[in-house]
């Protein structure tokens, strides 16, 4: 029997019982659609997180004081001295590395910010003009901190949108003075509302020049240094340069921890990828259920079509012919179900995309390939038994029973 004829015959059967066909298409379609939709949600979440990290600064390297070690706890305590602080001079020395584009030293503290009778406790960041570019901050009004030598400070500050609203009310904050502790700062800029990003709500902070923060909190120690590498490829060089320069300046001791954004990102990436795979796998169980449904329907079909199978054998069909007819029937149904499922899954993905436009829902390529393949594989697998049973029917008995 020719392949085209086998498929044609199976097609006639599939068309001949629309109710049964619809049922199987539905089961297969739901399975495939579930895999596509669920995995595209997972993939969307992953891409969303990756993008969020990207918004922090694309080639970010973070320098933290203190050595984080897996072996031995707090060596400084044991020898009776803490690691040396990370200072502004350390930070400025990092500019020697050719892989570093720019950097922003950071001091963080809490300050009592007052305007007239209003007062508010807010996080106060001390940094330099470069922070704006490194953290991709945007201004609603005015300007960011002025560039210049970070060792000297001007009495200016930049405030978050919420802080400005709470302290100045309806009044325009720009150009006004506020007081932090015993120092006065003129507001030169108001940050655009950006919401939370990696630990800080930029709406609720006040940023002052680094030297001013040093004086305010009476410390030389930097909270951390944010370094931007010149390119993605330069991140590794920047990291080793930073470690090298700081070891030199700290008498050969490694007293800092250098974290690349890539490392953090890769971890998140891995976790979310695994999650997507897991939920996709769960959805694939529905494909197995659909496969069992196909098997049931096929077994019933063999019983119902005893006559026809007996007749085909009487007309000269071999066992192989019969098996192929049943298998191609299953493959046709699975193909139809897969096409239906991919369409519905894609529509579902577009629909969720409309609901949450900020999350980039896309079905990962492996799901788009694996789901229909699994559908066809289960359909074939679960049709083997019914097809064998059909092929083994004794034509005399199949024809005689009415």
């Amino acid at each position: 029997m020719r392949l085209a004829d086998t498929l044609g015959f199976a097609w006639q059967v599939v068309r001949g019982s629309p109710g049964r066909t619809l049922l199987i298409l539905l089961a297969m379609g739901i399975g495939v659609a579930a895999v596509v939709a669920v995995s595209s949600i997972g993939e969307g979440a992953r891409l969303y997180v990756v993008n969020q990290f990207g918004s922090l600064g694309t080639h970010l390297v973070i320098v933290l004081p203190g050595r984080s070690e897996t072996a031995g706890s707090m060596p400084g305590v044991l020898i009776g001295k803490t690691p040396r602080d990370l200072t502004l001079e350390d930070a400025l020395a990092l500019k020697r590395s050719p892989a570093v584009r720019r950097l922003a030293p950071l001091i963080v503290g809490a300050g009592d910010v007052r305007v007239g009778a209003r007062s508010r406790e807010t996080p106060v960041l001390g940094s330099t003009a470069e922070l704006m570019d490194i953290r991709h901050m945007e201004m609603a009004q005015g300007q960011f901190l002025p560039p210049g030598d970070p060792r000297h400070s001007q009495p200016v500050c930049v405030v978050g949108a919420k802080v400005a609203a709470e302290l100045f009310g309806a009044r325009r904050a720009l150009g006004e003075w506020l007081r932090i502790g015993d120092r006065r700062f003129r507001v030169v800029g108001v940050l655009a509302s950006q919401g939370e990003s990696l630990g800080f709500n930029t709406d609720e902070i006040v940023i002052v020049p680094l030297a001013a923060a040093q004086a305010l909190f009476n410390t030389e120690a930097l909270f951390r240094v944010l370094v931007e590498a010149k390119s993605r490829e330069q991140i590794a060089y920047a990291q080793s340069d930073i470690e090298e320069i700081l070891r030199e300046r700290h008498d050969g001791k490694r007293e800092v921890t250098v974290v690349t954004q890539d490392a953090v990102l890769a971890t998140f990436d891995r976790i979310l990828r695994a999650l997507t795979l897991a939920v996709g796998g769960l959805a694939a169980i529905s494909l197995a259920v659909a496969g069992i449904l196909i098997m049931n329907v096929m077994l019933i079909s063999v019983t119902q079509r005893r006559h026809e199978i007996g007749l085909l054998k009487a007309l000269g069909a071999t066992g192989l012919n019969i098996r192929l007819i049943f298998l191609s029937e299953a493959v046709l149904l699975a193909l139809g179900g897969a096409a239906l499922g991919l369409t519905v899954g894609k529509l579902g993905q577009l629909f969720i995309g409309q609901l949450f436009p900020s999350i980039p829902f896309t079905a990962p390529w492996w799901a788009v390939i694996a789901a229909p393949l699994t559908a066809i594989a289960t359909a074939v697998l679960f049709s083997v038994a019914p097809a064998r049973r059909a092929a083994r029917l004794d034509p005399v008995r199949a024809l005689s029973k009415r």
């Binding site: 015959f9 068309r15 007309l315 071999t318």
Partner: protein, 232 residues
Amino acid sequence: MIRLSGIERVFRVGEEEVHALRGVNLEIARGEYLSLMGPSGSGKSTLLNVIGLLDRPNAGRYALDGRDVTGLDDDALSRVRREKIGFVFQFFHLVARLTAEQNIELPMVLAGIDPAERRTRLARLLAEYGLEARARHRPDQLSGGQCQRVAIARAMSMRPTVILADEPTGNLDRHTGQEVMAVLEGVHHAGGTVMVVTHDGEIGARAHRRLRMVDGAIVSDERGAGGGHGGT
């Protein structure tokens, strides 16, 4: 052409053994027109199934066109069957969802014959059995006589060595039955070998060679112009 010798067929029904065929010897020559009669349970259908390679004897030899087909496996039997045997059944056994022409084409499809060749043969068969106007009708849109003509055309599509008809008129009124017999006799006139199993004495009498079975054995084998109809 067909040579059966010492054919035994035993069915096991529960504890009992039923001898459907007891040492049947039979030779059929090309172009013969036979009828096979006998009471229910005498083994007519079993013999027909053995000749049609649908059933295997428990003992004895069967040679078809000079080839011993006794020991062939299922698939080999299927291939021989589709080349050499044409079946016509009492209940037509047409596939309900296929049109008349698709039903006629079925054996050729199963045999993997080229579509162009199939179309040529199909056109000839439709013309020969007066089915051109009904080619695209489904069985439920055809009369009993038309259904049986489709079945005969189907049986003839592979130009078989022998046409085996099991009660071909059993499901038809008398007049239509006569018509169908005329069609089968037409096959015989064209040189085909036809064997008809029937309960109907009148139908059986039309054949030129009349076999009678009782209890799994052939008890009489008469030859001669049958019943005054369509002699050669």
